[in-house]
């Protein structure tokens, strides 16, 4: 290898060793792809292939990692049936779906029309706006969640302060005065408010991402089509509903799939917002958080593995349903 490396560039036809090197290179050309793929194959085999198989194996066992390998005990489907009989599992599933629907739906419902409007505003202003909306997406969830914990704080948080200031403005005060009776809102210490608090954070964090996808989707709409619609006398409303929206279908399909997969695994936002506890009465506990609790607080790796496979099945099922309901239309003619 090193020989062909050093002499590679200066090899020429008159070189008597050329034939020998050719065959050497032919062998190395056969082996080269494996060499290039070695890091990937090793890491992928260890952490993904072996990891998944082992996790499946583990899900049929009871095992506490502190007690060592010998303490592993086969329990059959017990971990699965136990999960399905556990009220906290359903509670966290409910919370996860609630959060996914609330923040996911609103992200798409806002991002699509917003993208349509921004596309019509010229590229400089559009880029300025998208950059602002995209910023939360690139910053660490832990950092922004901590900022939100502070902003949600009941007595000193700026969100409550802003609400109070807003409803006490001169004119608004006439019909919004009743809000004062509810202040301060205990965003983080209230069963009913903790989920909206998390959903707002998620909406804020991810709406920019979908906005970018929808903008690039609308930009692929050819000018000719748009102009033909105008020629036919379609107004902006008709063009949104009958030209832009159908064109966006595959993008919507893709974006919604991402949202489903992402929000069913939601962990960091609720973890920080509820300070790792799941909130009062576990009303902010998601499945991934529950799984984390079982694995690293209760040290029941078998049960946690079973739960991760249940979560996998749920994600697969929801994605499959979405694919069969919207897939054919969603992916368009292609």
């Amino acid at each position: 290898m090193s020989r062909s490396l050093s002499s590679g560039a200066i090899a020429n036809v008159k070189n008597p060793q050329r034939k020998q090197r050719r065959s050497f290179n032919q062998i190395s050309a056969k082996l080269a792809p494996y060499g290039f793929l070695t890091p990937f194959i090793v890491l992928f085999f260890v952490f993904s292939v072996f990891g998944f198989v082992f996790s499946l194996y583990l899900s049929f066992h009871q095992w506490n990692p502190v007690a060592g390998m010998a303490s592993m005990r086969f329990v059959g489907f017990e971990n699965y049936t136990f999960s399905l009989g556990e009220p906290d599992f359903y509670k966290s599933l409910y919370n996860t779906i609630w959060l996914g629907l609330a923040s996911g739906l609103s992200q798409h419902l806002v991002a699509i029309p917003m993208a349509y409007l921004l596309v019509s505003l010229g590229s400089k202003f559009r880029h300025f706006m998208t950059s602002a909306f995209f910023l939360p997406f690139i910053t660490s969830t832990v950092a922004v969640s901590l900022i939100f914990v502070n902003m949600y704080s009941a007595n000193v948080g700026i969100i409550n302060k802003a609400i109070v200031a807003l409803v006490n403005l001169p004119v608004i005060n006439w019909f919004m005065d009743w809000v004062n009776a509810f202040m301060p809102l205990r965003w983080l210490e209230d069963r009913t408010l903790i989920k909206p608090a998390i959903a707002i954070l998620q909406f804020w964090k991810f709406v920019g991402f979908h906005l970018v996808i929808y903008i690039s989707g609308i930009l692929t709409l050819s000018k000719e089509v748009e102009e033909a619609a105008i020629l036919d006398g379609a107004n902006w409303r008709q063009r949104f509903w009958h030209v832009a929206l159908p064109h966006l279908r595959p993008f919507i399909f893709f974006g919604v799939t991402l949202t489903i997969i992402g929000s069913l695994q939601m962990f960091e936002e609720p973890f920080i917002i509820t300070n790792g506890t799941g909130g009062i009465g576990n009303s902010g506990l998601t499945i991934s958080m529950f799984l984390y609790k079982v694995a690293w607080e209760w040290l029941d790796m078998g049960w946690a593995s079973a739960m991760s496979w249940l979560l996998f099945l749920i994600i697969a099922a929801v994605t499959a349903v979405q694919f069969f309901v919207f897939g054919k239309k969603g992916l368009g003619e292609h």
């Binding site: 002499s7 990937f40 992928f44 952490f47 998944f52 901590l146 302060k161 804020w204 690293w296 496979w309």
Partner: protein
């Protein structure tokens, strides 16, 4: 051609790209519309501004009930409190170390992998590639427990290695590189280098790698942002304070009684600085990079 004739045919009222808000909202409505958009943009960046403001305030200023955006004078006090309560710079160092090394190694591994899939025909290629693509659909949470157990088995708990090495050969990035190489590196180039007697590795390293720069930029952005913001992996495999990355270190303040918010917000602000600074200069590249999977896939 069509565009030209069309713009001549229509008067400004009938067809003008920029007048959509005007048609939707009317004259004064348009003004409100722009004001609304700017308000949205402001709300989007506000939490970062707010965190920076709070990091200059004293405790009593943070806890005061009045609503103001004024800066305080307590930046240095907060900084002292920050380095007193947290191993802050140590955790920043760990973050830089893990993200930097992880990104560089990712570029190497992913470019090698993507190049191999794009350029060579070899036994098992279909199977390996198929498995890789299939694995992209498996939710990451499924790999969490095995990841922990393998790290534990290898004796790598509480090491930085555990935080970067396992994530350096990402299927998604390898896929991205493969697509790029197929589309933009001519086979003839590689073939002619081979005829000239260049070794396989030197073809990759001297000829292909420089041509992969654009896609490797994307890989670098995706991987660096991932490593820098990663929280779940550090949370489960590091337990000793000197191995904390910055996300994990910041999170520990939640357990403290009387959270020193000024210090925490200062730490938060510093911790997002590297990425935000880069974003200010290269927002287009970062946006394109981080949505590349969505837009091209």
């Amino acid at each position: 051609m069509t565009t030209m004739s069309l713009s001549k045919m229509f008067t400004r009222d009938e067809y003008d790209e920029r007048s959509l808000p005007r048609r939707v909202f009317g004259g004064i409505g348009t003004l409100f519309f722009y004001a609304f958009l700017l308000l949205c943009a402001f709300l989007s960046v506000f939490p970062f501004i707010w965190s920076a403001i709070l990091s200059t305030r004293t405790r009593s200023e943070i806890f005061s009930s009045e609503l103001s955006l004024q800066l305080g004078n307590a930046l240095f006090e907060n900084y002292e409190s920050l380095i007193d309560t947290l191993p802050f710079w140590n955790s920043m160092f760990n973050s830089i170390y893990v993200s930097g090394l992880g990104t560089v190694v990712s570029i190497l591994f992913c470019s090698m992998g993507g190049y191999a899939f794009a350029v060579y025909q070899f036994r098992g290629k279909g199977a390996i590639f198929g498995t890789m693509v299939a694995s992209m659909m498996v939710p990451p949470i499924l790999g969490l427990i095995p990841y922990y157990m393998i790290i534990q088995y290898l004796g790598l708990l509480n090491t930085r290695l555990a935080l970067w090495l396992p994530f350096t050969a990402t299927p998604f990035a390898i896929f991205l590189v493969r697509q790029y190489v197929i589309a933009s590196i001519p086979r003839e180039l590689i073939e002619s280098a081979r005829i000239d007697g260049a070794g396989e590795f030197s073809i990759y390293f001297r000829i292909a790698l420089p041509l992969m720069k654009p896609v490797l930029g994307t890989v670098a952005i995706v991987q660096f942002v991932f490593f820098w913001n990663n929280f779940l992996a550090p949370l489960i495999v590091t337990s000793s304070q000197d191995m904390y990355v910055v996300t994990l270190a910041l999170r520990t303040v939640q357990g403290l009684p009387n959270t020193p918010w000024g210090a925490v917000m200062l730490g938060t602000t510093i911790s997002i600085m590297p990425i935000v600074t880069f974003y200010l200069f290269a927002s287009r590249q970062m946006i394109a990079g981080l949505t590349s999977g969505a837009v091209k896939g």
